[in-house]
């Protein structure tokens, strides 16, 4: 059967023999689950794993998908967002694929979901201990900015030899007056490893600290899995006299729902020539709009 036909088979039908539940075979699922367990046991440590061939290309979320497929159960409710948006092409395609191979229900509501897969954003509504957030990671190595060699970065992590990363931040402050990193802001996790929280904006970094939820990070192309278990300290790298700060949206609000406390996307009106702002988290924005009757 062609994949197209299989995708169009209505929900509830039996899965075609030859394709296991959630697409991955048992061996793959076990390996990924073991890697996840190891990652959870050593917060921030990048666990290498055998990244399987996926029906989409590398660089489009295969790492996140493999984690989701290894964990998902038929009674899970799945939400997939891309830059905060449920309706983006990539999010929709991934949702449809996972639904086809695992027959799970889908939702746009953060509160309702049990598993949320995301690219580059963490939902505004705080998640619970019953939920899992799976993040898609392009570059798992936080130190790549200062060191090109994989062997060397592994040694630096092993020996907690992070002075060069700190030096990079010092130089930023000397040259520009502040740390210029906007996404992929390096954090120290569990007071031991320096970790890349994936390309989420600074706004989302504080959500990782001492959270209730399990955060899992999958990099398919780079073949690494890492994790932040619940109640783990996650501290952005900062200096006493140059503390970490998030994006400043003062004076701005969402054009759709009026929120002043969410991460906003800037929208440029090409015709009228103006600039407006919209919540990046579209699901949350929809909810708020409904409440505020806008």
């Amino acid at each position: 059967m062609l994949l197209n036909e299989w995708l169009n088979t209505p929900a509830g039908s039996k899965t075609e023999s030859g394709y296991p539940f959630a697409f991955l075979d048992q061996g793959a699922k076990k390996e990924i689950r073991r890697s996840i367990l190891k990652a959870v046991a050593i917060p921030g440590y990048q666990v290498p794993y055998g990244s399987r061939e996926m029906p989409i290309a590398r660089g489009w979320g295969t790492g996140g998908i493999q984690i989701t497929l290894s964990l998902i159960k038929q009674d899970d409710i799945l939400k997939v967002i891309d830059q905060g948006c449920d309706g983006s092409v990539n999010a929709v395609n991934i949702k449809k694929f996972i639904q086809a191979v695992a027959r799970v229900a889908l939702t746009n509501d953060t509160v309702e979901a049990t598993v949320i897969q995301t690219r580059h954003r963490i939902p505004e509504e705080t998640m619970t201990s019953e939920q899992i957030l799976v993040l898609q990671v392009p570059y798992p190595e936080a130190l790549r900015e200062v060191e090109a060699s994989e062997a060397e970065t592994r040694r630096m992590h092993a020996e907690a030899d992070y002075s060069r990363m700190w030096l990079h931040l010092y130089e930023d402050i000397v040259n520009y007056g502040e740390i210029t990193i906007s996404y992929r802001y390096p954090v120290t996790i569990n007071k031991r490893y320096i970790m890349d929280p994936s390309p989420i904006p600074r706004w989302d970094v504080p959500k990782l600290h001492m959270a209730e939820t399990l955060f899992l990070f999958g990099a398919g192309r780079e073949k690494r899995i890492y994790a932040i278990p619940p109640h783990t300290p996650v501290e952005p790298l900062e200096f006493e006299d140059h503390p970490f700060r998030v994006e400043d949206f003062s004076g701005k609000s969402c054009q759709r729902c009026g929120a002043t406390d969410t991460f906003l996307d800037e929208v440029i009106d090409n015709e009228a020539g103006g600039r407006t702002y919209c919540c990046s988290d579209s699901g949350y924005c929809d909810k708020r709009s409904a409440i505020w009757n806008r």
């Binding site: 020996e159 907690a160 030096l167 010092y170 000397v174």
Partner: protein, 290 residues
């Protein structure tokens, strides 16, 4: 007074090595190359003591093993054999696990993990190389180069680090206004002085100086050497000065070791080595001085 560092039987071999290596190389055989297995014996059974607040010179020509010795003591390379022990007073607070009860000296530092070696290096040692490209990051500001050691030691306040960097640059006679420029823009003498500032940033007990003035203009050399002398007496440092220039050794060091083909052929007071050299090679060196 007991020595600060005790080095016994330090050896470094490049190559697969065999039992004969140490016995078939050295000044008596006039070679570093083992005839049996082809390994290069860079350091062969080197032993010496370094005391607090003294400058020990190491003189030798290319291939003598003097620079290798410094790299081994700086934990850059793995030694093939020997022991290096530190006095309790230097390290018992930072790494108490290295000292057996009542023992004056640590265990062999060469057997430690890289993590422990790095801790020792950060706490106690500074090094200045002949080639500033080895000791500095050329695309980082000079202040940043100094700050790197502080950051490694856990400093997290930019203003305080810059204050300390400015202090050190001032001490090494570099205009503080140039703190944010990369050393790539500086002259050779200034680059050496940035290295010295960087080496001193963590208040080391020991400073390794590997041919630091070789290749510099005379007036620059005088300035750098004068600076080293002043800093040594001010901070009561122990210096290990490697040079092939007897004049530099004479200026800085009260005791000297002469190395040839990886071994120490003579050691003694600097004025005695220069005026009454005992070993044939030392006599040759002294006679060859301009």
């Amino acid at each position: 007074m007991e020595p600060l560092i005790r080095v016994r039987g330090l050896s470094k071999r490049f190559g697969k090595g065999c039992e004969q290596c140490l016995n078939c190389t050295g000044p008596l055989y006039d070679t570093n190359l083992c005839p049996h297995c082809g390994s290069v014996v860079a350091c062969n059974d080197v032993s010496f003591d370094l005391f607090r607040n003294e400058a020990l010179g190491i003189v030798g020509e290319s291939g003598s093993g003097k620079s290798t010795l410094v790299r081994l003591l700086n934990f850059e390379w793995e030694a093939s054999g020997g022991t290096v022990e530190l006095h309790r007073s230097a390290l018992a607070d930072t790494l108490p696990e290295l000292f057996a009860e009542q023992s004056l000296y640590s265990r062999n530092l060469l057997g430690l993990t890289s993590f422990q070696k790095r801790q020792i290096r950060n706490a106690l040692i500074g090094i200045v190389y002949q080639n500033p490209f080895l000791g500095l990051r050329m695309n980082i500001s000079s202040g940043g180069n100094i700050a790197e050691r502080l950051l490694g030691a856990g400093w997290r306040n930019i203003a305080r680090m810059r204050e300390r960097a400015a202090e050190l640059l001032d001490k090494t006679e570099i205009p503080v206004e140039r703190m944010d420029e990369p050393p790539r823009n500086f002259s050779g003498g200034m680059q050496q002085r940035v290295q010295i500032a960087k080496a001193l940033s963590n208040n080391p007990l020991i400073l390794f100086l590997d041919e630091v003035t070789t290749g510099l203009d005379l007036s620059v050399q005088a300035r750098v050497l004068d600076l080293i002398r002043t800093l040594r007496s001010e901070y009561k440092l122990s210096l290990l000065v490697v040079s092939h220039d007897l004049g530099v050794i004479n200026l800085l060091c009260q005791r000297t070791m002469v190395m040839k083909h990886g071994q120490v052929v003579e050691a003694g007071l600097t004025d005695q080595i220069l005026q009454d050299p005992q070993h044939g090679y030392t006599q040759l060196l002294v006679a060859s001085q301009l």
